[in-house]
């Protein structure tokens, strides 16, 4: 595996300051981008420039500086919305993907879900797409149901159809890409079937936007949530929603900026998207995410997807060399993103991660905020390597070497 392994498809590593770090003389191999991705110089510089030159209240001041900061904030929104293919006016800044999903659960769910209704999620969801629905169901008396995993770690559209056919599902919430299995779910098809059955859809795109070429208008979900910090940007989230639903919803949080007029007893709401952006927004973060999507666009999402697909294929080819290893997730690379969860007989994932760290290889260990999924897989925890555009085959080799060494330390 020598020659090809040394030459990454895309080499942008030098853009990422953190990746020049060394630990005990070893260059860091960052394989934890599904948790949070590293940020390129271009993003850091854009935020720095905004804060040094243009920072002021947005949508508040009449002076030139405030006009400039508002312009930077709103043009970032337009750039981000264009990047994913959605109307900027229906693209709401949130704290993160978690808050975006909670916004739907509170502002849409409380008004539209009641006793006897069902909320349908899946066994591969992140806690952020489980817990808000548990709370909603607790409050409203609705029932939470799960689509099960198939043997190939995917969802069954037949099962979806049969649950929808029972006629009680009011909302379907599904991850676009699983943060553990890497499964790429057929969300456009899920949205189509859910809508035909009268259910509203919420897609958790936290793992999808960073690595897949996307056009949200083709998926056409009622709500699509994601976060900037997995997409090479800072910690700021997005909720893209359908205008007719957003228009009909009550606000999520009340406060400044989200109002049109405040009387002593009641208020009226600002127009979209501001109705859902109470308080002072994270302007520098929005500007940073604008720079991040520009950076992703410049490389091209098709190329990024190809790069991550290559690394995943290479990892799936090399990891079985480690004795006693178990790999999770679909084997079909067309339906799998850049993440590989694994376990090794005789070494707990926590110890795997500790021993990888000795080689400056950063992998995640634990339940990955997906405890129901861990129970489906019959494990308490797994280790997980995940990739982004700055990773190389050489780093997969280092992971394999670290795992071989870990087995030696454990005298296996």
């Amino acid at each position: 595996m020598g020659a090809v392994a040394d030459k990454p498809l895309i080499d942008v590593r030098a853009d990422f300051p953190v990746l020049s770090r060394e630990f005990a003389g070893k260059r860091v191999a960052y394989l934890d981008s599904a948790a949070t991705a590293q940020r390129p110089e271009q993003v850091i510089a854009a935020m720095d420039r905004f804060q040094r030159e243009s920072y002021a209240p947005i949508h508040r001041g009449v002076y030139e500086l405030a006009r400039e900061s508002t312009e930077a904030f709103e043009s970032a929104r337009v750039r981000i919305a264009e990047f994913v293919g959605w109307d900027p006016a229906c693209s709401i800044f949130t704290r993160n993907a978690t808050e975006a999903i909670n916004l739907v659960a509170y502002a849409w769910g409380r008004e539209n879900i009641g006793e006897g209704d069902e909320v349908l999620i899946t066994e591969m969801e992140h806690h952020s797409n489980i817990v808000p629905w548990q709370i909603l169901c607790d409050e409203t008396g609705a029932k939470l149901r799960y689509l099960t995993l198939t043997d190939s770690a995917e969802l069954s559209l037949d099962e979806l159809d049969s649950v929808l056919a029972e006629g009680r599902v009011k909302l379907v919430a599904v991850a676009h890409v699983s943060n553990v299995l890497g499964t790429i779910n057929p969300v456009a098809e899920i949205v189509r079937r859910a809508r035909a059955a009268g259910a509203v859809t919420v897609i958790d795109g936290a793992q999808a936007v960073p690595q897949l070429p996307l056009d949200l208008s083709e998926i056409d979900a009622d709500f699509y949530a994601w976060t900037g910090h997995k997409a090479l940007g800072p910690t700021i989230g997005l909720l893209h929603g359908r205008r007719e639903l957003l228009d009909g919803m009550r606000p999520f949080l009340g406060g400044g900026h989200m109002i049109s007029r405040v009387e002593r007893e009641h208020s009226t709401w600002n127009e979209l998207p501001f109705k859902f952006e109470a308080g002072t927004s994270a302007a520098a973060e929005a500007v940073g995410l604008g720079a991040a999507v520009e950076y992703l666009d410049a490389i091209g999402m098709e190329s990024i997807r190809a790069h991550e697909r290559d690394l995943t294929a290479y990892a799936l080819e090399r990891l079985p060399e480690v004795e006693g290893i178990h790999l999770y997730g679909p084997s079909d690379l067309d339906r799998r993103g850049g993440v590989v969860a694994f376990a090794i007989d005789g070494i707990h994932p926590h110890d795997i991660a500790e021993l990888c760290d000795r080689e400056a290889v950063c992998v995640r260990a634990g339940h990955h905020c997906a405890q129901p999924l861990m129970r489906c897989l019959g494990v308490g925890a797994t280790a997980r390597a995940s990739f982004h555009v700055y990773n190389s085959r050489d780093e997969v080799d280092r992971l394999v070497d670290a795992l071989v060494k870990a087995r030696e330390v454990f005298e296996l």
Binding site: G346, H348, H350, D351, E354, L355, H367, M374, G380, V409
Partner: protein, 126 residues
């Protein structure tokens, strides 16, 4: 030799002492480490205010499992009120290795369930 995964740590991890369940027991407790999913429970038989026998059960990393195994040998025979007074330093000393902040919760899990069983207080060590 590895500074953390010493021979005796691995030996206790692979062949933990006093592991399993006690059908007849006076005290029991269960807790987990939410960060990494380590699970640990304990069954305790009490006689004259002392631990007459105990068994840990669960699954977890080498550090949490070895800490339970190593300390179990000291805990058997110990008066309950003495267990209530044990602190984090005691476990770390029992382990005899340097524990980094990221592994501290693993190391303390067994004392956490012991204290839970004897005092009913789940909040330790925070």
């Amino acid at each position: 030799m590895d500074a953390l995964y010493r021979d005796f740590i691995l030996e206790h991890y692979k062949s933990p002492r006093n592991f399993g369940e006690l059908e007849e027991h006076d005290l029991e407790w269960h807790d987990h480490n939410p960060l990494c999913g380590d699970e640990l429970g304990v069954h305790i038989v009490v006689e004259d205010g002392r631990v007459k026998d105990l068994r840990f059960h669960g699954q977890g990393c080498a550090i949490s499992q070895a800490a339970a195994s190593i300390s179990s040998e000291e805990l058997i025979g110990m008066p309950l009120e003495e267990i209530e007074a044990l602190g984090a330093d005691w476990v770390i000393e029992q382990l005899g290795i340097d524990i980094s902040p990221t592994r501290r919760k693993c190391a303390l899990l067994s004392l956490k369930v012991m204290r839970g069983a004897t005092t009913g207080d789940a909040s330790w060590p925070e």
